[in-house]
Symmetry: C2
Subunit: 219 residues, 2 copies
DNA sequence: ACCTGAACACCGTTCAAGT
DNA sequence: ACCTGAACACCGTTCAAGT
């Protein structure tokens, strides 16, 4: 049926999706694609093997098992966290720009970041940025354990922002709070209205970041 | 084998684990037990039915399916978030005590909180505390959209702390960073040592909370 | 109204077997 | 060295059938 010429084959039996030979690297590449596009749950061994154009079992030869694939994906993400460039004329501004660009790059790989979080690899994710941030903190007078605490606070602020964004993005109805649950009487109507809107986690991030940096620079 | 009396039965065929009849409530109770003790992944329909002493399929009669069970668990958690009591003589101190007690109660139900987070129900988790916190923010001069932003910042701070704790607790090797990855030369040795220790997210929480509250109270 | 077993499609994983 | 199909134990879910 249809008006096809009949000579154009469906392409289903093309030589293994572009003829790329299977390898641990290729497997992780395709797996990363699935995870980033459809979430971790969508990564089944059978779907992965289908996308690779190969039998399920051959994946087990190259990488160990599903868990090893997930581990490999996280390792890949960490390896690609390049040192970010700081911009700004003051230490505080440079810290802010670093935190912002970290957040941006992590947002591009939301599902992978979630995966890294579940495996408690988030600290490793910030390793490349850590030295640069430590230098800025030092010029604010923060060193030793104080600097470590400040570093971790900034790190938690960044990833938590990404995790919140991810949860909100995954679900259709955002952080909308039913305004009717508030007492209709004396309570601040503007506040209730603002809370009824879905949360804008970028604004929350920026607000928290500014407060934190002002606090760190010693009021 | 062993020295048992032989008259003491194994108790395996006791009348349905205490004879409690199956119901939607009972199902959620047992399901919550499994999730809180062994994590969400451990909650399989077959294990749930085993613990209930009933056939798998009868669960489908009471509640719809696995997803409905999970939804029910989150609803239960939200319903149990009682209004917390504020302690302290100043608005800032009362806000701090509320954030702390929220964190504590959430930490007791880590897995359930993780579940609520995945379903983007975290804003609803803070609803009971929201009015009380709004009142304190008002006496700091924060109302309307400003108060909403402050509220959300505090909320994100609390749940992110819980989420971090959970990730760290689930994995044996904490946020330890390999000190050897830092340049051995001029970099702050105390800082490197502090980062080599596993992150103490309670301290990170307290530090961030204080900075946030100082910032909110208008420096 | 409530519970059951059989059955389905789908998982991850192992293994003996092919080339 | 690499890939395969068959097979296993385990999922969630449906359905016709029992009482």
């Amino acid at each position: 049926m249809g008006t096809g010429t009949g000579s154009l084959r469906a392409g289903a039996e093309a030589p293994a999706r572009g003829g790329v030979p299977v390898s641990a690297d290729r497997i992780l590449e395709v797996a990363g694609d699935i995870v980033e596009r459809h979430g971790v749950d969508a990564l089944t061994m059978r779907r992965l093997s289908d996308d690779l154009g190969v039998a399920v079992t051959s994946i087990y030869w190259h990488v160990g098992n599903r868990d090893a694939v997930l581990d490999g994906l996280v390792d890949r993400l960490l390896a690609r966290m390049e040192t970010i460039v700081a911009e700004g004329s003051t230490p505080t501004l440079r810290l802010a720009s670093m935190a912002r660009s970290l957040r941006r790059t992590l947002l591009e790989r939301q599902h992978l970041v979630g995966l890294a979080h579940e495996r408690d690899r988030t600290p490793a994710m910030f390793l490349p940025a850590q030295q640069a941030m430590a230098a800025e903190l030092a010029s604010l007078g923060l060193t030793g354990a104080d600097a470590a605490l400040a570093l971790r606070t900034l790190q938690v602020h960044v990833i938590s922002s990404v995790l919140m964004d991810r949860a909100a993005a995954r679900n259709a109805s955002h952080g909308r709070v039913d305004a009717s649950l508030w007492p209709a009487d004396g309570s601040d109507p503007e506040l209730v209205a603002a809370l009824a809107d879905p949360a804008d986690y970028e604004t929350v991030f920026e607000f928290g970041l500014e407060v934190l940096l002002v606090g760190l620079s010693g009021d």
